[in-house]
């Protein structure tokens, strides 16, 4: 006997597995974080009463503003650099490499560094950028500078270098994916209609790669907003991030203020992402 599934139930059943996973691993933990953010606490434990103190402390502290400015600064710089790099590399792979097999092969080459861990890739910059590192030695040998350049390592520069190195791929892949789907006859048509290279780029390629750009941007911005380890190591402790403050609260078991910071961060990242999605309607682009 076949089990008859009412037609109406099919879509619900189809989304059920994902919904259940999200419920247990996202909705419930998030709800717990939200509840905890209203609890009181002291050195000896969490006090389950309702209080707004955590949010008041968070929103009236100068440190919060400074941490957000610092984190947003990195997010913006890294977003701009990875966008230019990612777009250029994807463009090259999609349009200049004629053989699609070679293009895929080159794209896979971009992922080679990802075979080792994030931490190793980040730390390997230290001997390169250090005071007596490879770059400084080269600059000294070439006579460009008289004494080692200090700002290469343990600086905002070093943080940006590591972020760009680690996150550019997250920009390349979605943009390449969008570009690969652009019908080549559109470009030919544009050229036939008299468009120059630049016009083809701005009026055909960029509009049709929008979804990739948006997805890549969301990846890169959320990754930077959620980081604390890279900024800690590469800045040599001379910079901080929003998540680092959360980590430090958790370090001392101060869960309620950590939860409040996490809720605020979630709200801000959600706002950024919804702003990006408002500028480009990804769903419409993908459907169309």
């Amino acid at each position: 006997m076949r089990l008859a599934i009412p037609a109406k139930a099919v879509p619900y059943l189809a989304v059920a597995p994902l919904a259940i996973v999200l419920l247990f691993f996202f909705v419930i933990p998030m709800a717990m974080v939200l509840v905890a953010s209203f609890f009181d606490y002291n050195m000896t434990g969490i006090i389950p009463t309702f209080t707004l103190t955590n949010y008041i402390d968070l929103l009236t502290s100068r440190t919060t503003l400074e941490l957000y400015l610092e984190t947003l600064k990195f997010a913006l710089i890294v977003w701009a650099i990875t966008l230019v790099l990612g777009f250029t590399i994807a463009y090259f792979l999609a349009f200049h490499v004629r053989n699609p097999l070679i293009a895929i092969g080159l794209l896979l080459l971009c992922t080679v560094p990802f075979w080792t861990s994030d931490i190793i890739r980040m730390i390997s910059w230290i001997p390169l950028l250090g005071k007596y590192g490879v770059f400084n030695r080269a600059l000294l040998e070439l006579g460009v500078v008289d004494s080692p350049v200090q700002w290469l390592l343990f600086s905002d520069f070093a943080v940006v270098v590591a972020y760009v190195h680690l996150f550019t791929l997250f920009m390349i892949v979605p943009i390449f994916n969008s570009m690969a789907r652009i019908d080549r006859s559109l470009i030919e048509a544009a050229i036939d209609a008299g468009a120059g290279r630049l016009r083809v780029l701005t009026e055909v390629v960029i509009p049709l790669s929008k979804t990739g750009i948006v997805l890549g941007s969301i990846f890169v911005i959320t990754l930077v907003m959620g980081d604390f380890f890279i900024v800690k190591i590469m800045s040599g402790g001379r910079s901080a991030s929003v998540v680092m403050a959360i980590f430090e609260d958790v370090n001392l078991l101060f869960y309620p203020p950590a939860a409040a910071s996490a809720v605020l961060l979630l709200i801000i990242v959600t706002l950024i992402v919804s702003f990006i999605l408002r500028v480009v309607d990804v769903r419409k682009e993908l459907m169309g």
Binding site: T44, K131, D249, L252
Partner: protein, 431 residues
Amino acid sequence: MKEKARSTSRVTRRRVLTTAAGAAGAAVGSGLVKGFPTIWAQNIKDVTLTHVGMSYSTIIDIARQATKDLGFKVEMAVTDHAGFVNRVTTQPDSVDIADGELWQALLVVPRGSYQPINVKKIKLWDKMTPIYTKGTFDGKQVSRIGISPIKVQYLSGAEAKSFAKEPTDWATFVPGFYNADTLGMRPDLIHRPIEHWGELFNSEFKGKAAIQDIPAIGIMDAAMAAEANGAIKYADKGNMTRAEIDKTIALLIDLKKQGHWRALWSTFDESVNLMAAGEVVIQSMWSPAVTAVRSRGIPCYYVPLSEGYRGWGNGLALMKHLNGIKLDAAYEYINWYHSGWVGGFIAKQGYYVPVPETAKNFLTADEWGYWYEGKPAKEPITDPYGKVMEKAGAVRDGGSYEARFSKIACWNTLMDEARYMNEKWNQYRTA
């Protein structure tokens, strides 16, 4: 079934005999504690103890030796500071022996994750250093600034979640490793003696100084320097007021803006690399990091300063869920821990153990002279793994054990205003 039981017991008996012989052989002449294992239960070999702590104390060699000597399995699990308190309080069943720092006890004990240790079941309790058990050293009171061991050593009773001010029969933990920290410097790059903590802020070392980026410890190094310079007077620098924290952080920010700090380091390796590369010539440092720099053939000096040392220590606590044979095994393990092998092993890393006289049996006379008595080494000194790290004739920085611990000025701390301090420290990072 019967056959199986018999073969198990045969294996157990053989193992017990060989391990007992091995342990007895190793403990010859100790005269203090010998004859491990002391538990002869048939099923003891099924016990596995998980010893959780920070990387510097949860060393796999200790677990291997314990497993060999005791007839049951000991495993080491390494965490960082944050991981430790979180694991012990939120997943207490995944831990058997909790090897935490003194100040961490302030967070864990009120949450009831540990079970009090009956000191009568600790064979060498009376031989333990009075730094922990009485709050004294050499008959004098040890500094109470910061989390001095005596503040967290005893509990008020068998079920207590609060600390006792005076010794009781119930211990929070058995004392673990401890040491006295100071500043490290490069004597080949600083051509004059360094005698005061205040030198950390000296503009002579602009761009070549570093401080550790662990707020609770970094602030103490900063406070030692600020006090030595006369810049700030503290009522109790181990438990600062908000105003005192503000002043200290303002001073650090000011120095940062002048370009004084090359870096804030947060891991042991970073401090070694900074110093070895010459990026930094004076900084907060931990003893084995100094050793690590020197074993690369680069001069590095762990300077005894006139204001004294910043002390730190660990303790091994038993988790609440331990009972029955596993609890017996845990007591057996913490008793074994002080019987000498561990002390001999860790001395070569520059750390001290609560019963030095047992460690002496596991060190040569020359090693004992070098590590504990401040005497020049007669032969090359090796690290715990046998690698030569000092040539004959070398003398340990800071001299003897007594010279070092009679000069503890403060201890690593957890202030009442810890959260405020962390927030301010983040301001310093972003400044």
